[in-house]
């Protein structure tokens, strides 16, 4: 056949193939609404207001005595830590014999607009730790905080050091001034007072805007092309839809919590200087004396390593370790890389420091 436009037949073929895939997609893929993101079985061990403490069912004999409580971030929901059987942070830890609890913040509504750091740290987190220690009979717990959950865990560790056996901070937001990401740049210029006083809670739409300016061409264009290209790869598609669903589930952040987080951590940079006050008490990072593991990712475009690493130098812990991984913010917790590198190291670290 004569091709007068001199178009590579491969291009035509690819174009037609993608078109075919687009039409076939609804037959092959479940709609995000039809997917339940909960994967590894758990019990709701404790709940208070909208907050739930999830206790995951063990998959093997318990090998690490001290229970681990994961303090998830304030942005999106906890499902990313258990997004796919082969990439599940929670399941990997269970398989290593860790007793895993996780704090799910739920979806705050307008009635929660006055909830602040004090309510989250001295209220919810402390009550969860209370519950775990009572239930397990252990005096202390190990705590892991991810992203903004890392900020909350840091404040908790500084205010309640005796309650923690170990502290692990995964990409925590600590030194806002040093953050070099787009998120940090916008956070430094936002009028948090006006936003909270006018709107109340930090609305999800604002977070969607922040997501849209992070790698807009790769995330907004290429990944969808790749999705349709790979529509017949069941595993790829399932993982894609699950992550997309997770990304689109962004709860509001309680107004007062958002105000203090933006002002004290990003704008006035009080946390790293130990000048932040929570519940009337000074958050002195020198109070953190338990073993500390800080995990950062060099390609993190949400919390830059420069923002997380200063915690390693600010605490008084003698036993502390800083792990730098060649991955990204989500890659550190939900990828094949995290399964092969990050989690085995984390499990080993916990094991060595757990009560015998």
């Amino acid at each position: 056949m004569v091709n007068e436009l001199k178009i590579d037949p491969k291009l035509v073929e690819e174009f037609l193939s993608i078109n075919k895939n687009i039409f076939e997609a609804p037959k092959l893929v479940r709609a995000p609404d039809e997917i339940n993101l909960d994967m590894t079985p758990y019990d709701v061990a404790y709940s208070e207001d909208k907050v739930r403490l999830l206790h995951f069912h063990p998959t093997t004999e318990r090998q690490i005595k001290t229970p681990l409580v994961i303090v998830y971030a304030l942005i999106n929901r906890y499902h990313i830590l258990d997004i796919h059987p082969q990439k599940s942070w929670v399941r990997n830890l269970l398989n290593q014999g860790v007793d895993v609890y996780l704090v799910d913040w739920g979806t705050p509504t307008n009635t929660d607009r006055y909830m602040g750091f004090d309510d989250y740290v001295n209220g919810y987190i402390d009550n969860c730790v209370d519950f775990i220690t009572k239930e397990t009979g252990e005096e202390t717990v190990s705590m892991q905080g991810y992203c903004t959950g890392g900020t909350l865990a840091t404040v908790y560790a500084a205010l309640h050091p005796k309650r923690l056996q170990t502290l692990t901070l995964t990409a925590p937001v600590i030194d806002g001034k040093k953050d070099t990401t787009v998120v940090g740049n916008l956070a430094k210029h936002i009028d948090a007072d006006k936003l909270v006083d006018t709107i109340g809670n930090m609305p999800p739409e604002f977070m969607y805007f922040v997501f849209s300016v992070l790698k807009p061409f790769e995330q907004g264009f290429e990944k969808y092309v790749n999705f349709f290209k790979n529509i017949h790869d069941k595993d790829y598609v399932e993982n894609f839809i699950r992550v997309e669903k997770w990304l689109s589930d962004t709860p509001p952040i309680p107004g007062e919590l958002f105000r203090q987080w933006i002002k004290d951590v990003y704008q006035e940079n009080l946390l790293i200087q130990s000048k932040m006050y929570v519940g009337g008490k000074q958050v002195s990072l020198k109070n953190i004396d338990m073993p500390l593991l800080t995990q950062v990712a060099v390609a993190d475009h949400l919390v830059s390593p420069e923002c997380s690493m200063p915690i390693h130098y600010a605490v008084s812990s003698q036993d502390k370790s800083l792990q730098i991984y060649t991955t990204g913010h989500v890659g550190m917790i939900a990828s094949s890389f995290s399964q092969k590198r990050v989690l085995p190291e984390f499990g080993q670290w916990l094991k060595e420091r757990s009560k015998k």
Partner: protein, 192 residues
């Protein structure tokens, strides 16, 4: 010293002034009063608040439009610059599949870099912050106007609800503290 004539003149002018001020005020209130019969009386009184909010929001609308225009200008300028760089690097779009794929990669890289630089820049964040700020000012006027309407209808306003949220939060805190204290006392008692 004032003569009786001057005094009379002064009193007269004062009277004229007060007369017209009061009369104008009464005349101005007539249109309100007309619509303010029965349950609408409150609306008539509050009309002034709505007008004031509307007038004030105009200034913020102007500021918001300026910031919004700057926001789109920054996006357009960055797009133009990125396209220029791409054209320089890939002067002709090849028509075979492999080169198209490579060109797409270059296009994404160049655009991603240019836009990330923009979003990372203080000038973008500053304008964005001010744009959001004026948007919030507009939202405030809108909220105030809605509050006037709610107040007219004898429904709770935003301020009323905010007060309830605040009170709820404070109550929750007090109850939690009392529960904790009670539990602590119980443990101490049982422990002994």
């Amino acid at each position: 010293m004032q003569t009786s004539g001057t005094k009379k003149a002064q009193e007269y002018y004062k009277h004229v002034s007060v007369f017209w001020t009061d009369l104008l005020s009464l005349m101005m209130s007539k249109p309100y009063a007309l619509v303010a019969a029965g349950p609408m009386r409150k609306f008539g009184t509050n009309m002034k608040k709505l007008t004031t909010e509307l007038i004030e929001s105009n200034d913020d609308l102007v500021e918001f439009n300026t910031r919004l225009a700057e926001y789109y200008k920054q996006l357009t300028d960055t797009w133009t610059e990125a396209q220029k760089q791409f054209n320089k690097k890939v002067p002709e779009i090849p028509n075979d599949a492999e080169h198209i794929e490579a060109s797409k990669r270059i296009w994404i890289d160049i655009f991603e870099n240019n836009f990330t630089n923009l979003f990372d820049s203080p000038k973008f964040a500053e304008n964005f912050g001010k744009m959001v700020s004026t948007e919030l000012e507009l939202a405030k006027h809108w909220n105030n106007m809605i509050s006037v309407l709610l107040d007219n209808a004898n429904l709770p306003t935003r301020d009323d609800i905010t007060e309830v949220y605040k009170e709820l939060h404070s109550l929750k805190k007090r109850i939690t503290k009392m529960e904790k204290d009670a539990n602590h006392r119980m443990v101490m008692k049982n422990g002994k």
